[in-house]
Amino acid sequence: MTIKIKFYGQIAERLGGGEGTVQLPSDCPIDLKTALEEAFPGLKELTWKVAMDQKLVTGPCIVHEGAELALLPPYAGG
C-alpha cells in the first residue's frame, strides 16, 4: 500500500522536499526504521525518529491504510 510521509528540517532538505510517499506492506508488523532507510537511502547518514499519526514509533509496528508517517530530525525548540 502507498503511505503518505512528511519530512522535516534537515531531512526535508536532504530528501529535497517536505513530503512523499512510500510503499509498505499492510497488516503485518514491520521495522519502520529499516523499511524507510531502504526507501530513502539518504536517511542512513542522518539522526531521526519516525512518528505515525503524530505519535513516535519505536520497534516493529503495523502501519494501517491511511496512516500519516513523519520523519523527525533532532528537536531544537526553545
Binding site: Y8, E13, P74, Y75, G77, G78
Partner: protein
C-alpha cells in the same frame, strides 16, 4: 472550572482543544509585558514565573549565528504542548499557564519562547516553569536552522 479557563488573555482555553502556541516570528517584549498586565485582575495569584528563550549569536567554527529559522510538525507539536500543559496542571496547583513559541525567522537577541506560569505561591511556579521548559525541549517536534552571517546554515540540536 479550572482557573485558566477564565483567563482573559487572547488564548481562549478549552479542555478539549489545544491552545494555539505558535506565533509567526519573534515574540515581542510588548506582548510579554501585556500578558503580565492582563493578570492583575486575577488576585488569587501570588507568584508568576516566566522563562524567555532568546536566540544566541553562537560562534561555531568561525561562523556567527545571526538568526534561527524555526519549523515544526505543527499538528504533533500542538498536541504535545497540550499534553505538557495538562501534565503540569495535574502535577502542580497552578492558576494560569501560557506557552508561546516562534515559527519562522527569529534574529539573534530576539525572543523565541515565552513560558508564563502563575500560582498562589512561588514554589509551584518555580518548579513547574522549569519542568515545562525542559519538556518542551525534549518532547516537542520543533526544528531550528541556524543561519550564519555568511548565509550558510546548520541544523540546531537541543542539548
Amino acid at each position: 472550572m479550572r482557573e485558566d479557563d477564565i483567563c482573559i488573555m487572547e488564548q481562549q482555553p478549552s479542555e478539549k482543544k489545544p491552545k494555539p502556541v505558535f506565533k509567526s516570528g519573534p515574540i515581542a517584549a510588548s506582548f510579554i509585558g501585556d500578558s503580565i498586565a492582563k493578570h492583575q485582575v486575577k488576585t488569587q495569584i501570588g507568584a508568576h514565573d516566566i522563562f524567555l528563550g532568546q536566540v544566541r549569536a553562537d560562534l561555531i567554527e568561525g561562523r556567527r549565528v545571526k538568526a534561527i529559522e524555526y519549523s515544526a510538525y505543527e499538528e504533533m507539536a500542538e498536541q504535545t504542548f497540550h499534553q505538557i500543559r495538562e501534565e503540569a496542571f495535574s502535577k502542580w496547583g497552578l492558576t494560569c499557564m501560557h506557552i508561546y513559541h516562534s515559527l519562522g525567522r527569529v534574529e539573534a537577541g530576539e525572543i523565541c519562547l515565552f513560558v508564563f506560569v502563575s500560582s498562589p505561591h512561588r514554589q509551584e511556579s518555580f518548579e513547574s516553569c522549569r519542568w515545562i521548559v525542559e519538556e518542551i525541549k525534549t518532547r516537542v517536534p520543533i526544528f531550528g536552522k541556524e543561519v550564519f552571517e555568511d548565509d550558510t546554515h546548520q541544523w540546531k540540536t537541543n542539548r
